[in-house]
Symmetry: D2
């Protein structure tokens, strides 16, 4: 792989877009060469069009790029979509139609039957939907999505237990404010408080989890036939969605087997040495009070999901905690890892 693949970001000036800009900086395979945003920003330098809200500075090279309209014309073949759900549907389809591979963080196409909802550590075979998608829709390109930021912490925590047969999942989330974008949650709402409601989040977690853990059957995914129930809450943390999981398993494995499954989990992206695949993918922490959002979300450059406190559950079988960095593993990093797998599989 001599020269880098040029990539673009749709919706580059928003918060998720900024996360893509930062995550792609210094990437060994991809070079950010194109920035798309609303008409209001088009024609300006990225530096002028963007209020940078992340820690540290905007990368100098990107700052000087000129923002373009979100039209397929001159964009690179591979584009990451950080677009707001209110506009993503039509634009992503237009790009896919014109031959672009759209690796999207937006929720719009996640649940469509021919669109992979991809987590490379869990369901890399779902990429086989892409040729079917092209055929069915008459597209030259395609759309591949990553899950919602809270779903990723849940499904990655569950992934090592899939081999025992997951039958029921009850999860309660404690989600960081960065998950709501900017300005997002009002400080009057969250200081010294918990908001026990996030619009559509519970529904998304429940159905996305079933699709991600589902089985590819011919041309579509059969959802995992497991009951999934989510309680979603916003708490006063900045980064990192922590989820408390209870799970019922078909195979009544002993706690030592379950504990060992976390250590033995060795999924494809890690074996392929994909650049953004963290090692380990899932880290079990032995301490009695971990994982914790502020202390653990950034492990593995924000790509490792940390779990802990595995114990028996008096209602289902086991209970434990899982933590994922919502803007990295749950957004920009997830999409980039998806693209790396697609590159590795020859789809890009």
């Amino acid at each position: 792989m001599q020269s880098k693949i040029q990539v673009g970001v749709l919706g580059a000036t928003g918060m998720v877009g900024q996360h893509f800009v930062r995550f792609l900086e210094g990437h060994p395979w991809f070079e950010l060469a194109w920035l798309g945003a609303s008409d209001r920003s088009a024609g300006k330098k990225y530096r002028e069009a963007t209020v940078w809200r992340l820690e540290g500075s905007m990368p100098d090279r990107v700052a000087e790029l000129t923002v373009e309209e979100c039209k397929p014309g001159n964009a690179p073949k591979l584009v990451f979509s950080a677009m707001d759900a209110s506009v993503a549907t039509e634009i992503e389809r237009a790009f896919a139609d014109c031959g672009h591979m759209v690796v999207s963080n937006s929720r719009n196409h996640r649940m469509e039957a021919d669109v992979p909802l991809l987590v490379p550590e869990i369901n890399p075979d779902h990429l086989k939907l892409v040729p079917l998608q092209r055929e069915k829709r008459g597209w030259k390109g395609g759309i591949v999505t990553n899950p919602n930021c809270s779903t990723i912490a849940l499904t990655m925590g569950l992934a090592p237990l899939v081999k025992f047969g997951i039958e029921k999942v009850l999860v309660t989330t404690m989600q960081a404010v960065s998950g709501a974008g900017y300005p997002g949650v009002a400080s009057m709402d969250i200081l010294g408080n918990v908001i026990p409601y996030i619009g559509s989040e519970e529904e998304k977690m429940e159905c996305e989890t079933q699709k991600i853990l589902g089985t590819l059957n011919g041309g579509s995914v059969t959802p995992l036939p497991a009951a999934v129930s989510a309680h979603c809450n916003r708490v006063a943390s900045v980064d990192g969605h922590l989820v408390a999981i209870s799970v019922a398993l078909r195979d009544k494995a002993g706690i030592e087997s379950v504990r060992r499954a976390f250590d033995e989990f060795d999924p494809l992206p890690q074996r392929l040495n994909l650049p953004s695949a963290p090692k380990p993918a899932v880290l079990y922490m032995e301490d009695k009070d971990r994982p914790q959002p502020r202390r653990d979300a950034l492990r593995g450059n924000g790509m490792t999901v940390t779990v802990g406190r595995l114990r028996e559950c008096p209602v289902l079988d086991y209970k434990f905690l899982s933590l994922g960095h919502n803007t990295i593993r749950g957004a920009a990093g997830a999409a980039v890892l998806n693209a790396e797998l697609m590159r590795s599989e020859g789809l890009i």
Copy 2:
């Protein structure tokens, strides 16, 4: 009831003790007349012996009382115990032996077979254990306890549903820092963070709930034969423990019946007009994002438990939220309400 009943507080200088001092101020039945604390404080005025950590000022009248040793001699018949668990066992027993009625917030005696773990709205009949306790232990007084601060939010939220037959309970807590006393949780641990562990809290919630919702059979309580599983977490709120509950019911009641049960809940303390019994005992809030700790914990002077977001649970039957003020409904106020019921029942 012409003149007030004199009462004392064991462990009066600590955080829980301060909550008793504040809650008893202006009480229509009880007058705080005696303060017990460690030898180090005995002999000093309360003002001198205490670093007041609550909002507002120490009540002037109490500030001038002289702190005494925690010995039964001159204390009033009715004493509230705010003692630390490390010393409560022997001292509470010594007081009970000498004819004092000890209404305790400490955990030490809660799970003993002949000691009521009392929530007046739920199990007022458990007070019938007191005569048995006296007989068995040869005490002239007795010990009555209230539950842990997180258990109360759970059991009060469940109480209106008891009539449907509770079979399984899965609860995840988001608990305020005031529940850990002073200095309690280090700010380095909680700012922008969640601590997914509170020592012994899950075990306490599970077994206390079964006892509170249990049935008095002859001389002891048969625990509710329901599986109870708790995930306990500390979050960056100041007051108010919020709990997310999923519950399985024996009678498969429709959601309207369950919803109505919260409004129809009309327990004994409210019918008796006990001074600290809030009306309503349990308030169902219709808003989509309530209850919230900072905005709702103080309803009903901190004695009303607020619930909300009742919806069907894909794993068990229903899920909803419950919130209780941990230092009022979950500590000082709970014990005072216990004493009011005991007075009403002629036990004091």
Copy 3:
């Protein structure tokens, strides 16, 4: 005073308007009878037009009032203005022109030469501007304003020292998020952070302080000829603006005299027993680490300003802290106290 005076609130559905609604509930002189808001809300019940964001519930009686357009027609003679600065200028003038007395929390008219910027404890004589204002503008009513929420903590803290001759004031604020309204400060900006900038706040504090402490000379106020310099910061507190003050005095009083001045401060509203005048107006706390926003802002129902830590300043003469509740003493309560003084002086 047999029957209550009917009053209205302009801008009743916003955050400041909600504070007026709550503060006026149960007022012994005034009865809230009229609510004005934008065209969008007019015609609806207050309950329907308003997302209530304060702790506790919307007062039942007010909830049933119908919101009206902000037009002078049917409103009571006395109206409190909680209007946004973007619209307040014209509407307040229209009401004053039609014979209403507008007691405004908006910043728009504060610095006009014939408009009192009133703090009843400090400059009650500035009310003499009202007749001149009427004459000059041909109004049947008038406009009286209260200062910005941070200015009040500064000027009330300084008020007891006015007798020593204030020559220089250097103040650094640590302001609560509620001062920015709703949604106001984004949680992403303030969690674990300080924002060292609040638009126009420093300029307001500097010039408002000079006017409040200024001298009425014939038909206008001569500003206090003291240099005032402000550093304004937003911190992660909910209510209460804390300000650190250094001051140079003309009379080189000893520290005991200065300390005593806080205790001896006995201004007019307290001597008149105005209903919202707290006693004391300014409370000096002896503890080494007070006042603190969360623990002290609500003293005197949020109307007492607390000060502490008086000590010598190596650069100016003395330094100390002052704390005022920004939405009560710094907004709704300030305006109501202004109206009480005006009633007492026969202006209403």
Copy 4:
């Protein structure tokens, strides 16, 4: 410089000690080879003796080192002291006496006449006190100190203005909780609050600043004859002390000159390319609301001090903000940079 210099840390298991361990990891000149702690920890592996409280993991290599008693015997020549003030005096002297160079973060020896209070960007010549210290005390080694964590943000912010002649400094701090160590500030004290008091902090800032900016005259430092006044406050941020500074200058430079001075500041450690010397040492941020603790404290690996909002001060001459990372630039990083300068000057 072929092989690395072995170094030790006194007080290695505490919070400051952990910061040294982390900061020294991968250092190009120094290799952490020796860990001293209390008798209780001596003999254990660092992994066993330490509850690691920093983000990320304890470095593997250091985790396996055996902790030793804090006695001079086998320790390397160069030791960093992270000892608690309660024990530092005697132990640091014992090490200096036995030929060790003690580069200390403790406050104990900072204000002694023959001990450098060193900030390499400001007063590198103060190192000339070391030979005098040896001679006077008969030591074979010596002690060099760095300032308090809030002093560093102040003095580095002032350093570029020294050339204009600093005559008066008035500073108000907003300090992060990590400055208080562990457990440090109770969460009950700081959530939604500000604590306007930090024991001895104001005195330390005032006198340390005068010494750091003072002039070496023969065998001692003549303090800067400038009045310095500090207001110190604890706020709910995790890392980064933000200080609001007003300053009076002898040379009445225009604001453009003062602004330029920040950009032109080019001190010795940066010219020497010392490994921990950040570039720039002081970064002026143009944004209207910066620097901010959470977003800017980590610039330059936590070693760059960020300043902003330079404007005229109505009371003194100019006002601006300065921010330093308290546990890096204000503790471990400061000491390591001191040692790098000492190595560069041939003192180690």
